[in-house]
Symmetry: C2
Subunit: 327 residues, 2 copies
């Protein structure tokens, strides 16, 4: 029996613009998914605890056509099960054990569907745990690539390499097109996260930006300006100049708002964090709802978020320099 | 005795960027300042009613060193009195009557200090009323120019030609540097205004944008993108394509937020207006607090604003095609 874990992520800079070839900087956070894999005689049995905030448990045996008996939202379960199925398939392939049976237990501290990379973390940890259980130890880079293949398959080709790479490698990473690399020398970043309990429709949000960008030159320029913020941000990463970094976060948020991907609750949380004393704050991920990330060494932003109507959950989640690891 | 009135204004597009030579489009609104001028034997007597939301009355005789006896904020009164003094001086100069005495009564529907051009409207109406009372009829262009001289003197050289030109001419105007002209063919714009009861520090906000623009190329690009929005907006003005115009308002607001001139209450009002059904909404003026302007033909945005915490006042104020006029 092997337990592996992998971190979730926030986008420090560059979401949406990354779709158009600009660089982006996702960062792993100290919120992890843990996956335990135990080889069994045949089939696949999955236990999923606390994958959502409310928690539910799935137990089933079989392949894609297995219908677990539970009350949780079926599409959510189907998606979760899809990720585990595909992750296990990767482990079977690397070990050349196509018929290996598995009991898989998933636990996660990462709110599901909040744009914090929960699915990538589960997939990365599952590939690591299941392949180790079959006696194969993959490098983080190999896991990142295989996890991307899983997300690509489950998400109908709409996956980004950023989430899986960041989760597998840990720390701050730089993504530009298919080129992903870890940014060295980044020790700590005092992230505070606010979550409105919801999520935007990623496809719709991406399409909205595309439409604006095609219609207006100034929208294309705005996408380019986000890329410039990322390049500027890279020179500040690795320092503890949180004021400059915060200024860049704030600017990045405004440009995302201009591109139509903020929301009332995201803006309210961003202001709460700033007025609570954060060096800066922005939405993270696709937007339209979900999470904001703030930089704050004090308790101010966290307290302000906890008293902000519409903020369902607020927590500290510092930069996690560890990627996937055996527990 | 002559009564003249002149409208306040909102910035449909382009505030802040106009400082760097980009065009801007202020629009006169159906909220007016009315000034009554009556020639008296000597000196200057001023009655100011409802110039602020709470209202106060100033009555005094004499020049700048006159100290009216009242409970209103003294710096506010001093500023208001300065505008009237200088406006009356313009009327005395055009009529070549340096010693003409005046009783002046000022009434205004325009919230003071909210960024809606209340001082420009008072100055414009005062110059018109006082010069007519002395038998001289100035063109709106002449009044605009003289009103600008007044604002320039009272505001220590920090005046923009936009407010006084817009108030004198009415309608939608285009400002680019010192070049101001009226935009023809704009019939109606269904403005809804939300006011948070506060005001930002204009000098500080302008300085903040300047600093960002000097430090970061992407901030300079953002200022340029606002100029592009204005040029795009000009092609939509004169149509009733409020959806496109609203899209431009929303984008303009995001870019202003990126430049650091929005605020928690301004963002809250902007979202209330949008979710209430407005085609679009943005802050208007220097920002940091004050007013937002939304485009909405229905009552939705107005209702939403009235139920928004932090919105002190909300009202409809459509485009006013009349500039300064005798009542």
């Amino acid at each position: 029996m092997v337990t592996s874990s992998a971190p979730g992520k926030v986008y420090l800079f560059g979401e949406h613009a990354v779709v158009y070839g600009e660089p982006a900087v996702p960062c792993a956070i100290e919120k992890r998914a843990r996956v335990t894999a135990r080889e069994i005689d045949e089939g696949l049995r999955v236990h999923v605890d606390d994958l959502t905030l409310d928690g539910y448990t799935v137990e089933y045996t079989g392949e894609d056509d297995g219908h677990p008996d539970l009350e949780a939202d079926e599409s959510l379960v189907r998606a979760g099960v899809g990720y585990i199925n595909e992750a296990v398939a990767q482990a079977r392939a690397v070990a050349d054990r196509p018929d290996a049976g598995f009991e898989i237990v998933v636990e996660s501290d990462i709110p599901l569907g909040a744009g914090l990379g929960s699915s990538a973390a589960v997939v990365v940890a599952a590939i690591d745990a299941a392949s180790r259980e079959l006696g194969v130890e993959l490098t983080p880079e190999e896991i990142a690539d295989r996890a991307y293949q899983v997300e690509y398959a489950v998400q109908d080709g709409q996956a980004s390499r950023a989430d899986t790479f960041c989760s597998a490698m840990g720390g701050a990473v730089r993504v530009e097109g298919d080129d992903c690399r870890r940014i060295g020398g980044v020790g700590n970043l005092p992230f505070v996260i606010g979550y409105d309990g919801g999520a935007g429709d990623t496809g719709e949000l991406v399409a909205g930006v595309r439409q604006l960008r095609e219609e207006y030159d100034f929208a294309a320029d705005t996408v380019g300006a986000i890329g410039d913020i990322v390049r500027e941000g890279e020179s500040v990463l690795g320092t503890d100049d949180y004021d400059s970094m915060g200024e860049l976060l704030n600017f990045n948020h405004g440009l995302l708002a201009a591109l139509g991907v903020s929301s009332r609750s995201l803006d309210a949380m961003v202001w709460a964090a700033r007025e609570g004393g954060a060096a800066g704050a922005k939405l993270t991920g696709a937007g339209g709802g979900g999470c904001i990330v703030a930089l704050d060494e004090t308790d101010g932003a966290l307290t302000a978020l906890r008293y902000t109507p519409g903020c369902e959950d607020a927590f500290r989640a510092e930069l996690d320099t560890d990627g996937v690891r055996r527990e």
